[in-house]
Point group: C2
Chain length 404, copies 2
């Protein structure tokens, strides 16, 4: 009977309208195109922020007045120590350039060149720390920005030094495009960067629109306020979601909008600033793919040279990890002017976590674990700093000038 029916329904296909297949959301289907879900997230983000933006605009007015900021800077440059710090950084760029020029014509030996570069690089890292810790008027945000610029510069000049040395060793051509490299969205120096054929105006304007969308500031302001007020009870879960959203917005703003904007402007061709970290099924994959400029630099100028010098793979990885933890701490502790081990410990906590996820979780479960570590783990470290900062500054203030 069954065979009979099958034969018949084969003759008249309109009678059979089903076939053996899985639902798209079942993992067995192998379907993976969820571009629409990303759009949904963007729409939801824009909708909820549009409300927040309007509410904030009605309550507080425009929070940042660009003319006021510029006039403040022109009238009294000492009020903007962070901006001054950034301008001063040119000294280190010129020093590196000058050293390389000398080296290229053989005026100084390799040994002297290395010494000068080492001093220059060390000062690049230490000078801003001294200034940030000494100048009282510098704000945490200003300090962090300045230190960020100096860290990027340190990595770039280190790469510049390395590549020029490699060129001399191979008796290659020397290039003098250091300032292009300083502004280009990469940390790895190269003689001949791939260039995009032309500046696409529409692309540039779209990225610019994303960058300056001023609703970013009101969100930060309004989500920081309850954070400071409710800091003591630390009703933790509720703060982690906005923190995480801020991180996501920051990621998009910096790694997609800003770096692409700069790259388009400079016709810099390589736009791989991130890979598909959102699909990470292990913690390791996440760290290797969310920040490609730094990952590339670490691989090219730190990990591979270490391996070449005879260090074991495992030791090399640990060294990269420690260096990364050091810079995380450097960029947070110094601007806040308090040395706390939270960022460093947060980075170190990644090691057992990575082992656990890789060992016990696969596929979508691994991916969910990575997301969970981002949603919960990272904001905890942020909260620790905010808590300590609050206790240090506001408690003292209220104890000194408080009631009674």
């Amino acid at each position: 009977m069954s065979v009979h029916v099958f034969k018949l329904s084969h003759v008249s296909p309109c009678l059979s309208c089903h076939r053996l297949q899985e639902s798209l959301l079942s993992s067995a289907s192998g379907y993976r195109n969820y571009r629409g879900v990303l759009n949904w997230c963007v729409v939801m983000l824009v909708l909820s922020n549009a409300r927040l933006f309007l509410e904030n605009l009605l309550k507080y007015g425009i929070l940042v007045d660009p003319i006021q900021v510029v006039s403040l800077f022109i009238k009294d440059p000492y009020n903007m120590p962070a901006a001054c710090l950034v301008i001063v950084s040119n000294v280190f760029i010129v020093a590196a350039l000058y050293t390389e020029r000398r080296l290229s014509v053989g005026c100084i030996s390799e040994r002297v060149g290395l010494l000068v570069h080492s001093i220059n690089l060390s000062v690049t890292l230490c000078f801003p720390v001294t200034i940030v810790l000494m100048v009282k008027s510098i704000t945490p945000v200003g300090g962090a920005s300045a230190l960020g610029v100096y860290t990027v510069l340190f990595l770039k000049l280190y790469s510049y030094k390395d590549v020029n040395k490699w060129c001399r060793e191979m008796s290659h051509a020397k290039a003098r495009n250091l300032y292009y490299f300083v502004f280009a969205p990469t940390l790895c120096y190269e003689l001949n960067f791939p260039r995009s054929p032309r500046i696409r105006m529409s692309f540039l304007l779209r990225r610019l629109f994303e960058m300056v969308s001023s609703w970013m500031i009101p969100i930060i302001q309004s989500s920081m306020k309850p954070l400071e007020v409710n800091i003591i009870p630390l009703s933790s879960l509720s703060h982690q979601v906005p923190n995480h959203l801020l991180w996501l917005i920051f990621f998009y703003w910096f790694f997609h909008s800003s770096l692409n904007f700069i790259a388009e402007l400079l016709q810099f061709g390589d736009r791989e600033f991130y890979r598909d970290w959102w699909n990470s099924e292990t913690i390791t994959y996440f760290w290797q793919n969310w920040n490609i400029p730094v990952h590339k630099w670490c691989l090219r100028h730190f990990y591979k040279p270490l391996l070449k010098s005879g260090v074991s793979k495992w030791l090399g990885q640990s060294a990269v990890f420690l260096a990364s933890a050091f810079f995380h701490e450097y960029l947070v502790s110094v601007p806040l002017k308090m040395l706390r081990p939270w960022a460093f410990m947060g980075m170190m906590a990644q090691l057992p976590l990575a082992w656990f996820v890789a060992r016990f979780l696969r596929g979508n479960y691994g991916n969910a674990a990575v997301w969970l570590s981002l949603i919960i783990g990272q904001p905890i470290a942020v909260l620790m700093y905010v808590h300590d900062y609050y206790v240090l500054h506001y408690r003292e203030g209220s104890a000194g000038g408080g009631p009674e």
Copy 2:
């Protein structure tokens, strides 16, 4: 110089570490694998609901006691008129089966068979309406569920009748698996459904877990409460997001978890209950892909027969659309016991919207427009009903037994 450098860097590939490429999030990259973003949504949903669930559990205790529900039903069946209605529906199934048996042996003519079927189908649609409108104790949720079951049954019996007629016309074998079809997650009858080879216990349990996750009830409860309280000011945007989330959860719960659970249990092979509507770039694509059982039925038993009978394509599409709008209205107005045109109008508003989106928006912008229409459009219709229902029931109540 440029050519010279290019040649050199070609010789030593370690010097060049960039290549011309787009960022993954740029539409030009053609990248579309965002499975991780879907996981992110699930993690965020679970996290925020876990909090809500705990809060509700602490505040209200367990809201639904399954033993109480069952004992209530056994003690006094008239208290559960909706469940009784569903049980009574067997009469219509048996009537259809009996009619087909008679037709297959030639006891009654095609004309009489069609008449009996038509009466049976009309009563299937009208009988529950009468009961729901007459029985005072029936709740809106119970009424909607019963009407939903009868609507599904109507579509199934219609398909059963059609296919059996086609079989007779082609002098095919007759199948008698009507009860399997009644429970199978499809609306299109077929002589020989594709079957999955075995019941996968892990798949079944995962779907069951998703289905019974009891946190669903607390969300609905807690998101309905502020809805009723703040109904008059209708500070609209803020309510649309939870409404939309409820719809998304309902979609997953019904079209993925429940239908797959039933299908796995019945070894029903065709699991295409939805297609990738989340990537819809036009309103039309959304309506053709979010509810495949209904879409398939409409195509097979309504649109194609209409075309065959000489109706134009445009008229056929309009007829399908009107029928769909009718059923939307039927499933909402009758259980609420108030005839309002909002669901019907909501469906009709899709026509100009679909034209607008298809005409002016492409790609991700079209997709964002579809999402926006879901996030904003649909909840507005829901709010209209809730508003009217509230005014009808609670205002009258408070006017009768209110203060003074």
